[in-house]
Symmetry: C5
Subunit: 313 residues, 5 copies
């Protein structure tokens, strides 16, 4: 479907399905290609004279967020992130004096929200302000995602959910790859908004510079949070692994030390279990008790020795 | 509460609650929004014509330290750090020719200290000098924090508190995450002061350039200290972990080597404990003593062999 | 073989083996040195007056992708990657007003594809557009390679092929070195296209700036993917290694704990296997059953104790 | 003590304690504040009109090496390193047309050496040349320190002193933290000299540019050496740790394999030590010898099997 | 020895020992200080008026490769690498309009090779072309070194020489430190040639810009190879270590699991080896066989259980 919002100061906002009426006068016009059918796609080339490379990028899905200037019009690729799956969605935008064209293969809640806002007070908008609102919505939607990841990482730090080591490692790995995937998107978006601010080509953006800088600020913050959360996950993993391995080593050492105590005792018992015909000790009346005493003394001596060595700590 | 400090060269400094008196002439005026009530907040928009984005940032808490120019006024976000919890506090500042507005949701000791200083010698101040004093206090307060972290790290290095490995690892982890959180704040503050110095928009700051450069110096030093302390914690952790794991491995090796000595001896004792009807050795008179001699010789031989192999080191 | 494509607006495209006809007028000319014989190589120097350093680089194979300006002509080294072996192929290009010369030691599918396209609609091309097409084909061929590596890494992440740890480590190592080798090529290509865009020497490239920027975009994307895939492999390896080592440690601990239970029991059995003439316990009627009871109680006590210590988890 | 060296081309060099004689004419003057008393400190503010921030920095000890311009005078903080303790010393320098003021809390051998040189040929100096000599001495003193650290690291690499693993790890850690501390100083010094070279404020430095660039070279070299020595320590530690841990693992494996051989043998001996009334094997004449044979065959079989598995390597 | 090559277009090239003949006219002159004696060294200062700092750097050996401008002459420090020992050699070069002076403490094969080339076709050279040839020879000599290191690393990757783990680790460590040392030299050389290209001081270099850019290319390539080979060694080490440690852990686990099977069996044998007067089982006729059956069943049960747990993999 191709939606059209045309604003003229006298007659106000006209909304409806897009029809190509060249003669119509307007102050600004926003055409939204919402999951366009194959024949609707062609309108991009026939009615608006956009650059074929930009149109090609619209149809493809491989794009990084970016800004391309093509003389009288500019082309933007924006990436949304699905809060649940972190899947990327693409919104392509063409900006021209008085004209804004948005293009998205799937219905977009961001675009719908902005449409609602525009319909309520159309006189406050123009093509650059609408672009700002779309960008603002896209970027605002990153925050709940990064906050949720950060909360999960903080939970992992204190291990509030009392996870086993294996589950914690898996959780950390998943958080890390989410941050990695998110970083790719955020860095490209950040670079794009930076270029919007400091390229003097974009006159209508330049007029609302403060507003786009506000978005840039938000992207900087998200990107900072991603970086320090990735470092945090590494710290948590390193710290937990070394703690656990250290504890296991200590347990093993304790067990080995204890087993050491039984080795000579069992050996002695073995010796007096031998069946030699002539073993003088076997005949003495107190031999058995002496051997018991000997074994107890040996055990004590070893415990004292090992404790001194610090092998029981 | 909204405090107001108005200075006029003839009548001197007038302090009190803020009232909007447009006609009053003054050399400079400082209005402090100290934990303002909901209706007091509106004064920001009604009496001063600050940019809505700056006002919005005032009310939010998500901000990174930053500097935004809005034509005739500039907006600053400063971050204080609580020396005990390392929690961030925010002080928002509006700077305009002759006017300084500070805004903070909670009472701020930094602001109170500066007020006292200003009241004592108001003739030495103007809006930029007051801003410098506030920044100076905020930044000076970072030092005790980083010094305290550094002291704790130095204690960990020498293990002056004789901590167990587990406690040391936990301490190191905590120091590292404190440094991580602190770094986020310090880097943003540093970038902001850098922009203050090299953006030529800020005329009244430019006049006192040396003073702001002095603050920049301090931020550079804190940021250096954070970086090298983080490296230090990593060195300490790596060094301790490898030392401990090496020691434990050596202990395990020692124990295993010792247990090796008893294995063949216990086997021999087992052999002569068998109950076969016809075992010729059992009948000889000196068998028992020969077996003892054999076992002692074997033990010695093994000890010599293992020592040679270096397995007792 | 030296192929020649000469275009003149009136007579159209002339193709065939290259012959040096100086007087011929043309709009543009493309000469392709396809696996040239030794004597054909000399044509580069005799018929075109290319700089000796550029010609030398043509004949060598050590080159990084690069762009060298030599006054009236420019020299490009492009690298193709074999999708199966990741081996580098080299295409050398000379660009001059109206003249394009390509040079490759082995037959090149990229060049053949572009030739086909040019032959179909020669009027749409000139020397810079042909260069763009060649570059576009070279860069497009990187994508299936990086996508295939990424797919393999994703399979490794979920271990869909149920590999043993050893095979997984080997797979990861191979993916990592493929990414390393690919990165070398992609970074040099990226830097070269960047220089094409921002060096104002290249007039005929400059006219088609948008098209070369489109290629630059693609190279940026490949280079991003290489970086995050390398990080991903590291994450997978770290995560798997720590998981496995943790699991093995736990198994070892379990086994050691179990063996601990038998140590004192076996010792007691050894004691009552001794052959002393006077061992009062041996004569009592219920001794045997008491010892059994004792051993069972000891085993239970130890199991309870170890479970409490968490050594069975 | 405040030393004064005043040079006038006619009367030559006048040295002695500093006295404020405003009328005296001179070509250049060097005043050295050598461990000044509290009242001597005030001279900095009373006699020379240096900027209060610079004077404040003189009195503090927190400073990083740096260069601050204050209109007609510049302020430098230089850091010396004690060759034995690596403790930082501070020399503060004020440079003004015709005037050099140095300030240090403790007696400085560097300053004394330069004084001697100046006294011998005062006609060759001016305030900038003296500053160069001081810097040159400070920087030359870094070399023996980094050379000594490098020598110690090279000794550790070959383990010429035959250190135990623990001592080597401790040595490496100490070298690393020395390099870390040294790096902080050298980087700041390097940045300062870089600014001296490329800030056009410093006219009298600019005249002797080659001489200051020579010092910059030396600082680059020290900073390179620090970086590669830190990498070297990491390589040595990693290499030694993995070597040692690999060796210990192999020892453990050998021991475990050997103990494996005795397990079934001891079990068999145990079986024939049982006291059942009816155990047919016990009565046969050759049972004992058959069991011995069996045990020897089993041992051999296991040794062959384990050797095949490579568990004895 | 001081060699002199003087070229004049009419009389051609004059070679021989250097004599100071001021009046002689020439187009260019190359004086080579080949392992100069103490008195020959002085010629540098007496006959050519080179800057004392440059002369000082000639006599010292501490220098990094670098380029210093001193008004009418430039000073270069070049580093050669010995292909066998990787030891650094230094060639110092002074470049002046029409004059080239080279200085090296030891005989230099690079210099000799260039001399031969110059003697054959002196009309093709001037002072800058000779400098280019020297640099070209120095840089070309880096390639066999890095190729040889790369080959050795590739051999280590496939372990073609079937090295033990210890030897491989030592080899990798040695390759890594060679790369580290080489990197220091190559980076400084690269930075120096970069400065030659983009400093507009060097007029005679500027005329042959393409030739020096060709050398820069080679240095970039060497520096890329060093970086990726260092990453490669790290990958190989990590991969091998984790593979080996994983294999050893598995062996240990297998051995421990096997020993687990004998523990209860040996315990049972011990129980029925006890000498209690009243042990009813001992008297039953089939007890012995029942116990054997029991032990075999237990062993099987444990094997099944452990296999299920995956402890035999
Ligand atoms: Mg595209
Ligand atoms: Mg698209
Ligand atoms: Mg927003
Ligand atoms: Mg946090
Ligand atoms: Mg990840
Ligand atoms: Mg905002
Ligand atoms: Mg907003
Ligand atoms: Mg706020
Ligand atoms: Mg301060
Ligand atoms: Mg201060
Ligand atoms: Mg310290
Ligand atoms: Mg942390
Ligand atoms: Mg200062
Ligand atoms: Mg070349
Ligand atoms: Mg080639
Ligand atoms: Mg393409
Ligand atoms: Mg992925
Ligand atoms: Mg690799
Ligand atoms: Mg394309
Ligand atoms: Mg200061
Ligand atoms: Mg000081
Ligand atoms: Mg020096
Ligand atoms: Mg060395
Ligand atoms: Mg350290
Ligand atoms: Mg020097
Ligand atoms: Mg010197
Ligand atoms: Mg030299
Ligand atoms: Mg060469
Ligand atoms: Mg390779
Ligand atoms: Mg190394
Ligand atoms: Mg060459």
């Amino acid at each position: 479907m191709l939606h059209s919002l045309v604003y003229e100061s006298q007659s106000g906002l006209q909304t409806g399905e897009y029809v190509n009426r060249k003669t119509a006068s307007y102050e600004w016009k926003w055409v939204d290609f919402d999951s366009p059918a194959e024949d609707e796609k062609k309108v991009l080339e026939s009615d608006f004279s956009f650059h074929p490379l930009a149109v090609e990028d619209c149809f493809q899905d491989l794009q990084r967020p970016k800004l391309d200037g093509y003389g009288d019009h500019n082309f933007f690729v924006l990436h949304t992130l699905d809060p649940h799956t972190l899947e990327k969605g693409e919104i392509d935008v063409f900006l021209k004096e008085g004209v804004l064209v948005t293009y998205h293969k799937k219905p977009s809640s961001v675009i719908e929200k902005v449409k609602e806002q525009v319909k309520q007070r159309p006189e406050r908008y123009d093509e650059a302000v609408i672009l700002h609102k779309i960008l603002d919505q896209v970027v605002d939607a990153y925050f709940p995602i990064i906050y949720s990841i950060e909360d999960q990482i903080n939970d992992l730090e204190d291990n509030t959910n009392d996870l086993s080591m294996e589950d914690m490692l898996e959780e950390l790995f998943d958080r890390r790859s989410e941050l990695l995937r998110m970083r790719q998107t955020i860095h490209s978006m950040r670079d794009m908004v930076y270029r919007m601010l400091y390229t003097h080509d974009l006159e209508n953006v330049y007029e609302h510079k403060e507003y786009f800088r506000d978005i840039y600020d938000h992207l900087l913050k998200v990107s900072d949070m991603i970086a320090s959360n990735r470092e945090m996950t590494q710290d948590i993993r390193d710290s937990n692994l070394s703690m656990t391995s250290h504890r296991q080593n200590k347990t093993m050492q304790f067990l080995t030390v204890v087993s050491m105590i039984f080795l000579p005792l069992t050996f002695i018992a073995g010796v007096y279990g031998m069946n030699f015909a002539y073993m003088p000790e076997l005949q003495y009346q107190y031999s058995y008790f002496i051997v018991w005493a000997l074994m107890i003394i040996m055990a004590f001596a070893m415990i004292v020795f090992f404790r001194k060595k610090g092998w029981f700590d």
